[in-house]
């Protein structure tokens, strides 16, 4: 590439920094530049272009008034001087719209946000190299490097005893969900065997019918009606053959190489997760693609809350007309296939009556992560504690077998349960998981919880108490931490700017605390009038990227209150765990309010009560 001579001229009374950045980039690329002073007339600029015999003229315009007139006059004078056609002419700056520049006869217009590289590429007559966009990224493992050691020997003993007893108790029992999970696995395996020609269609049909009969023996009437009589479940609709074909095309289009914007600046964590669950597989895939393209490392599947109260799951491709996307192997496998290979995917199994089957489906569809928490699911999400304890242990076992890590979420804080009680439940879940060979991830909430509102820990700032939670957990166990879900819960409003800002600030705090991952909301988090819009996901991802850029590797310093609160949390957790151990039963402790009481705002769930039996 021969060096070019480029005239840089501001069409403003003062210099715009943009031209200086372009000058530096051009010189680094080996070109010669002449940067004129500001406030010259158009005639003076063109005269210098003639005298210097330049290859290119790049002018900058920041001020917004008279832009078309000034730019048009420059083109006219260039024309009169015989330069048009011989000299490249480009214009850039805050006041420039590329379409206006093209209309006026400029070879290129550079709008706000243009990189110096784009100007260099223009001068050199080539396509710009877009350095900030990747075509792939590494898939993160949130759990690597953690020992799960409980630092205090006394607490370690307590947790281990509770975990051991609960696993022993649950292993002796089963439930409709545990049985359905087992049968669903056989159904999937038989379909795979058929697909690979290891089973004849006749044998498969016989086996499938046999398994379905067993399955339906553990389902409620609505799900039985769906399978036996083809009855449609309320608010759902099967996709047509045409729709499924279109879905395949969409999967093919979105799973190809994408331009992925990096989110973090100078750090390798936290990984950023985005929650989706529009109800429709098409829209889910579109939202996942948007999230990936704007830098999300992972996505979290949300299913409908009503479906968690049904005994049994549907099959096939289905759309749902409200929030939450239906859990079927078909829906999940297409969603999974649409994502980039590097995108982590979580399917939640933390509440309701179908948790083991959900883990089976998630594993079969290729999920990287799931979500399990007996305490939250039974105290804050309406599932009977005994039932969820049996199902939850099975979920942990299945997760361990599938190599899927899971977070142990503490959403009972949103009901009003104080953090130390929620943490105790979470740590029991984590200890059980470790005993079962699974890889748990602690998920404290970064939230303005009812307990915090009453007791004032966030009256002054949102930093200290959220930091205290992370500090407390680190003092108790060497485990990965993934605040959520989403960060800033209950601080969002319907104002787009406020919502993006609070997410970004919580993300910055999480980054400063060096946690492993975060889940972020969209700016539609507090809007209840309709579905979350794709653009609102871009809002918070952009804001988060900006916060990461702003803070880089520097840290936010919490006040000494964070230390005090962390110590109080550790002590509170130890007291609650001691009470659970004294009670002699984790499940009884759940019913009796030791891990969150009606006074706190937690009520033992009733869905699935009386459905557990001894093996």
């Amino acid at each position: 590439m021969a060096a070019k001579k480029v005239l840089l001229a501001p069409l403003d009374p003062v210099h715009d920094v943009g031209l200086k950045l372009v000058k530096r980039a051009l010189e680094r690329a080996g070109h010669t530049t002449i940067l004129l002073q500001p406030d010259l007339s158009v005639d003076e600029i063109v005269q210098r272009a003639v005298e210097e015999e330049v290859h290119s003229v790049l002018v900058g315009r920041t001020l917004g008034y008279n832009v078309p007139e000034v730019l048009a006059r420059l083109v006219d004078v260039m024309e009169a001087a015989g330069l048009r056609g011989r000299v490249q002419l480009g214009v850039g700056g805050m006041a420039i719209r590329p379409e206006l520049a093209a209309e006026l006869g400029y070879d290129r217009g550079f709008g706000p946000g243009t990189s110096p590289e784009e100007a260099v590429a223009f001068v050199e007559g080539r396509a710009p190299v877009v350095a900030e966009v990747m075509s792939s990224r590494d898939k993160g493992d949130l759990t690597s490097g953690y020992s799960y050691r409980v630092h205090d020997p006394g607490l370690a003993k307590t947790l281990d005893a509770i975990a051991r007893d609960t696993i022993e108790w649950a292993t002796a029992r089963t439930s409709p969900a545990v049985e359905r999970g087992r049968i669903r696995r056989e159904l999937i395996n038989s379909a795979i065997a058929l697909g690979y020609g290891r089973m004849s269609p006749e044998d498969h049909a016989t086996l499938r019918q046999e398994l379905l009969d067993q399955y339906l023996g553990h389902c409620d009437r609505q799900i039985q009606g769906f399978y036996r009589r083809g009855e449609r479940v309320a608010r759902t609709r099967p996709l047509s053959g045409v729709e499924v074909a279109a879905l395949e095309q969409l999967v093919a289009r979105t799973s190809g190489p994408a331009q992925l914007k990096p989110l973090r600046h100078g750090r390798t964590r936290p990984l950023v997760f985005v929650q989706y669950g529009t109800g429709c597989p098409f829209m889910d895939i579109a939202h996942i693609h948007v999230a990936e393209s704007w830098g999300a490392d992972g996505v979290v599947h949300f299913d409908p809350s009503w479906a968690a109260r049904r005994e049994g799951l549907m099959e096939g491709y289905h759309t749902h007309e409200q929030d939450g996307s239906l859990l079927t192997y078909e829906n999940l496998s297409r969603t999974s296939a649409s994502r980039q290979a590097s995108t982590l995917w979580q399917v939640r199994a933390h509440r309701g009556l179908n948790t083991p089957e959900t883990v089976v489906l998630a594993a079969a569809a290729g999920a990287d992560l799931t979500k399990v928490n007996i305490a939250y699911g039974s105290l804050g999400a309406g599932t009977d504690p005994e039932r969820l304890a049996v199902d939850g242990v099975e979920c942990m076992r299945l997760s361990a077998e599938a190599g899927m890590a899971f977070d142990v979420v503490t959403n009972e804080e949103l009901c009003g349960v104080p953090a130390h009680k929620a943490f105790a439940g979470m740590l029991i879940g984590a200890a059980m998981a470790v005993r079962l060979g699974a890889r748990p991830i602690l998920q404290p909430l970064f939230c303005l919880s009812p307990d915090v509102m009453i007791n004032g820990q966030m009256d002054d700032n949102f930093v200290d108490y959220n930091a205290a939670k992370v500090m407390a957990l680190r003092r108790i166990m060497d485990a990965p931490i993934w605040p959520g879900a989403p960060i800033g819960f209950l601080t969002h409003t319907e104002d787009r700017v406020q919502s993006a800002t609070t997410t970004a600030l919580h993300a910055a705090l999480a980054s400063s605390l060096d946690v492993d991952a975060i889940s972020i909301a969209s700016t539609d988090e507090a809007y209840s009038g309709g579905a979350i819009a794709g653009g609102s996901r871009v809002d918070t991802l952009r804001a988060t990227a900006e916060a990461f850029r702003f803070f880089g590797r520097t840290t936010i310093a919490p006040s000494p209150r964070a230390e005090e609160w962390a110590a109080q949390l550790v002590e509170g957790v130890a007291n609650v765990l001691g009470a659970v151990l004294s009670r002699g039963s984790f499940v009884a402790a759940l019913y009796e309010g030791i891990l969150g009481s009606p006074e706190d705002g937690a009520y033992p769930g009733r869905a699935g009560r009386g459905t557990v039996w001894l093996r």
Partner: protein, 90 residues
């Protein structure tokens, strides 16, 4: 092919309305949406202070489960939303 078909889901209009109070802002915002041809518009956010209100109006072009114009156009076929019968299961 209408440009509107390319909208993934919703059109948001953000503006500042000169108005007397918040209720006035809501009325004017919905009237503005109607003037712009936005059907079934909703007000996502409104904040009134003295001179007027900052407002965000939303109208969904495609709701989850709808027939999506952007699929129709891209694939060049009949698009999605047909009802000739459920697809098979695994």
């Amino acid at each position: 092919m209408r440009a509107k078909d390319r909208v993934l889901d919703a059109i948001d209009v953000e503006t500042f309305l000169v108005c007397e109070h918040e209720e006035d802002a809501r009325t004017v915002a919905l009237a503005l949406a109607a003037d712009m041809g936005l059907r079934q518009a909703d007000i996502v956010f409104v904040e009134w202070r003295g001179l007027g209100a900052r407002v965000r109006i939303r109208a969904y072009v495609h709701r989850p489960g709808d027939r999506y114009g952007w699929m129709h156009e891209r694939e060049g076929g009949d698009g999605v939303g047909g009802q000739e019968g459920p697809a098979g299961t695994a």
